[in-house]
Amino acid sequence: MLETTNKPDTVIHLENISVRYRLPGERIQTFKEYAIRFVQRRIQFKEFHALRDVSLDITKGDLFGIIGPNGAGKSTLLKVISRVLIPKDGRVWIRGKVSPLLELSAGFHPELTGRENIYINGTLLGHSRGEIEEHIDDVIEFAELGAFIDAPLRTYSSGMVARLGFAASTTWKPEILILDEVLSVGDEAFQRKCKVRMESFRAEGTTTIFVSHSMDTVLALCNRVAWLDHGTVQAVGPPSEIIEAYRQAQ
């Protein structure tokens, strides 16, 4: 880890990361097919490069934007950073705990109350029960759910679920926060509240990675931006410059 001594502020380090998926059509689905292909020596796959030789360094406290068209590899990159996808080529290291804020409905159960869901959500993000008990009042307050907090989630509106999701995963002052197109939920007042919270995180040293198709939001929030296309990093730099180049290329 020689690089770390040169850049002590780096919290996310990606080095020549390549990710290849096997194309779904080529996937062998059954034993029979596998056996036949094995005998015929035809077990080979077409591969799809989701990421090609990506190298990035993200500094502590950055509000780092990732832009690019659909299928550029943005989500795959987030998966590599959040340790969901282990790259077979290249190296990634992370300093600090990664808290992803994706569509959180996946971790919520409709029959459980808001409070019970906060516990599940918190433990899914790797917090202990004690940590959750310490912070649960803040979560409830930020989510503005009032008495609904002890009602089953199925009685909530979609805006309420979104608020609970944002509150539940950002109350712990994440060290590294991943936001994937989530600020589009909730009403305007809540969106403003989210932005204020993100700004305060940044002031306190949280590193945020923000993926969005809204160039205005990226321009307003981020201090650095990477433009991704066809699985490769096209450019990294200040938001205005990169967004300008991205727009011209389109």
Binding site: Q29, I94, I120, T123, L125, S128, R129
Partner: protein, 275 residues
């Protein structure tokens, strides 16, 4: 933020997958507890009798099977206790392995979004199964009282048997889940295998009805034969299992768990590629 000074994750410096998984599941033990709680609480949330169904289901099955088979197997002393003890062990095994497979193959959504120890849902499924099994032991004790079975000190041995059964179940669940991620047909196939397996194991019939010529291999090659037998001995027979039966059961369970844990955690990195 003290922790941010240390590297939390480095793809180039990873230790043994099985050990790393073990460390992960220990760190996420509160999650396992929450998942078990969620499964138990939500399962019967909308039903009036709620959690009582966990006890009523095996009881109902026992009543039906007793009505159907009691004349046929009239030679079996205390048939209701015999069948219920076998059913409880089998239900735990079949439901839990199925839950593990479903969580790994279909419940993979979360694994594709956030980092979690890959065995989280498998371990929590075993936890849920153990809670359900503990609850279904209540009607068994009631039946034993009603049918005049006397209580023995050997019953204190039951918790140890549960550990063996849980180890085998987790291990096998992990092995089949690994296969099912790469070959989805496996999970369908497994349901059929389970049905055949249940009839090959003396659950509803006494083991004496199988001719000696077949029974030796049929039973000795069947791990569940040994485990059900060990489970039944303290409850139904009122004796402690002999050391030979116990040794076979323990070796099978631990070996299956170790193999399952190693295979699964070794292959777990690839699961995300099979989205």
């Amino acid at each position: 933020m003290k922790t941010s000074e240390t590297v939390v994750y480095d793809s180039a410096k990873r230790g043994s997958a099985a050990l790393e998984e073990l460390r992960g599941i220990f760190q996420y033990r509160d999650l396992v507890f929450q998942l078990v709680r969620r499964d138990i609480v939500t399962r019967y949330k909308r039903s009036v009798l709620g959690i009582a169904w966990t006890m009523l289901q095996p009881l109902g099955m026992m009543v039906i099977l007793t009505l159907v088979f009691s004349t046929l197997f009239s030679s079996v002393r205390g048939y209701p206790t015999y069948i219920l003890s076998g059913l409880i062990a089998w239900t735990f095994f079949s439901q839990t392995t199925t839950a593990i497979i479903n969580h790994t193959v279909w419940g993979g959504e979360l694994f594709r979004r956030i980092y979690l120890p890959r065995t989280s849902f498998a371990v929590s499924s075993v936890g849920t199964g153990l809670v359900n099994m503990a609850l279904s032991l209540v009607p068994l004790l009631v039946i034993m009282l009603l049918t005049g079975t006397t209580f023995h000190w050997s019953m204190l041995f039951v918790p140890f048997v549960l550990i063996l059964l849980a180890a085998f179940t987790l291990g096998l669940g992990l092995i089949i889940s690994t296969l099912a991620v790469f070959f989805p047909d496996v999970s369908e196939m497994y349901q059929i295998i389970l049905l055949a397996w249940m009839y090959l194991t003396p659950i509803i019939y006494p083991e004496e009805i199988i001719p000696k010529a077949y029974s030796y291999w049929l039973f000795n090659l069947n791990p569940m034969y040994h485990l059900v037998k060990i489970f039944r001995m303290p409850l139904y027979n009122g004796i402690l299992p002999d050391w030979k039966t116990l040794l076979i059961g323990s070796v099978i369970s631990l070996l299956t768990l170790i193999i399952g844990w190693f295979v699964y955690s070794r292959k777990a990195d690839e699961f995300a590629y099979y989205a």
